[in-house]
């Protein structure tokens, strides 16, 4: 293992996640495959997130931390990708968890598929308190480059060959509400994407529903990402995207 040239870079941007970031970091430190660097960026948090990061960085030399003003997930991740030195780059959200063998198993898939530009795994949905609820719905949808135009099934855990970013570019910061969808669409057009059907990631589903206006931004950004993909693929002359919205209203007893 050469600490200057780790096999994997795990990247995390963190914004006000003091409640969960410790567990996220522990899940990386517990990896069975030790040849990694873990690069985190505090995105201008106003809580104790940065202090927690600093505490862990003192204890483990593989952890590198950066901090800066609040720029959002896409810009922060781009900054981290530029700093990463690993052959493979994995993305972990600051409130989620990796399974202990996540890096080991995913890297193995890359080694068995030399032409793959990205590997994604299955994931478990997890309640706010960490209780695992079961396999997420997205990863049950079979992957194809075409189906990706209507269903975002390439969900966490995602790992990229470093060179993939040289081919497709970084995350589009103008699509802050759906930068990962846009990135996956671009990757799917240039590289082979391989699905590893193993639940190696726990995705935390928060009870507090996001505001309806934020959700609207997300859907609009996803729509824009797909429309751009249709254009890049030369499909926009014959096909168009229809987006239908529906809603579910629930009354929740106040605590």
């Amino acid at each position: 293992m050469n600490p200057e040239k780790p096999l994997v870079s795990v990247l995390t941007t963190a914004y006000n996640t003091e409640k969960y970031i410790g567990a996220a970091i522990e899940s990386v430190l517990a990896q069975t495959m030790p040849d990694f660097e873990f690069v985190l960026r505090d995105d201008g948090s106003t809580d104790s997130t940065l202090e927690i990061l600093e505490g862990y960085a003192k204890k483990d030399a593989r952890i590198k931390i950066f901090s800066g003003p609040n720029t959002g997930m896409a810009a922060g991740t781009n900054e981290l990708i530029k700093k990463a030195r690993g052959t493979f780059i994995g993305l972990l959200d600051s409130d989620d968890l990796l399974a202990p063998t996540a890096l080991e198993e995913t890297v193995k898939v890359f080694q068995n598929n030399p032409s793959a530009g990205m590997v994604y795994t299955d994931h478990y949905d997890m309640a706010e308190d960490g209780t695992v609820r079961g396999l997420g719905f997205r990863c049950r949808i079979p992957y194809s480059k075409e189906r990706l135009l209507i269903d975002m099934m390439t969900f966490h855990f995602r790992m990229f060959r470093r060179s993939t970013f040289d081919i497709v570019g970084l995350m589009d910061t103008s699509l802050e509400a759906a930068p990962d969808y846009d990135l996956c669409l671009r990757v799917s057009e240039q590289c082979r994407i391989v699905h590893l059907p193993r639940p190696l990631y726990c995705y935390r589903v928060h009870d507090k529903s996001i505001s309806t206006s934020r959700r609207h931004e997300q859907i609009n950004a996803s729509k824009l990402a797909v429309e751009r993909a249709l254009k890049r693929r030369g499909l926009d002359r014959a096909y168009e995207l229809f987006v239908q919205l529906s809603s579910k209203f629930t009354l929740v007893k106040r605590a």
Binding site: I150, H216, Y239, L245, K253, R254
Partner: protein, 259 residues
Amino acid sequence: MVPSSPRVSLLTPAYNNGVYIEETIKTVQLQTMEDFEYIVRDDGSNDNTLEIIKKYAESDPRIQVIAGNHAGISTGLNEMVNRARGAYIGFLDGDDLLAPTALEETVAAFEANPDAGMIYTDYLEVSPDNNQWRYGKRCTAPYSPDRLLVEMMIFHFRMVRRTVFDRTGPFDPELDMAWDYDFCLRVSENFPIVHLPRPLYKYRVHEQNASTKMGYEQIDASRRAVEAALKRRGLDDQYRLKVEIFSKFQIRKKKKTPA
């Protein structure tokens, strides 16, 4: 009929309905119950909607035309309600169709339910050319004032007793995108609402892909209507409304437009 006070006032807010409004008006003229007035307000259309309405009004004294400026649906409806003289007020959209017995059967339901403030029926969804239809599903959820807080099952055809407005007040222009939801919530807090499970209305379903903006604004206006209802009902201390929005993406072949 008696021109001074008809039994029913039927109201249609019309905006750029030039393609469909003729068919709409004809289904009104074919009603088996003839004691009605039909008020159509053009909301400043930039197509030929107003011309068509005027043409029909010339030969049918039951039809009254209001040539309005573009004021939005609630403001337009309030203007029509103020003019309406019927004991019952029914609502018909400018591109939809009534079954021939719609007025007769709905009025009979009011007579059988003297306390009812509103009657609503079942409906059919029809294709733009009115050649294909299926049974509408929104009205299948059983009505209750509580359930109405999370689900809008009160769809077309809707008729209210004229006097409900004395208790509910007018339509709220702030909630144009969910005017009917807001109004039904207010009616449900003051009067019994009765469901007449008969398909007396044809609701035209258009293929639209303008933007997700309209869909979102409708959901958001509905959210505000329900939150206001929770407050009026004194439930907002105990309950909060959770709104989830889902999207469905479809790639469709573009229709060939004639060159």
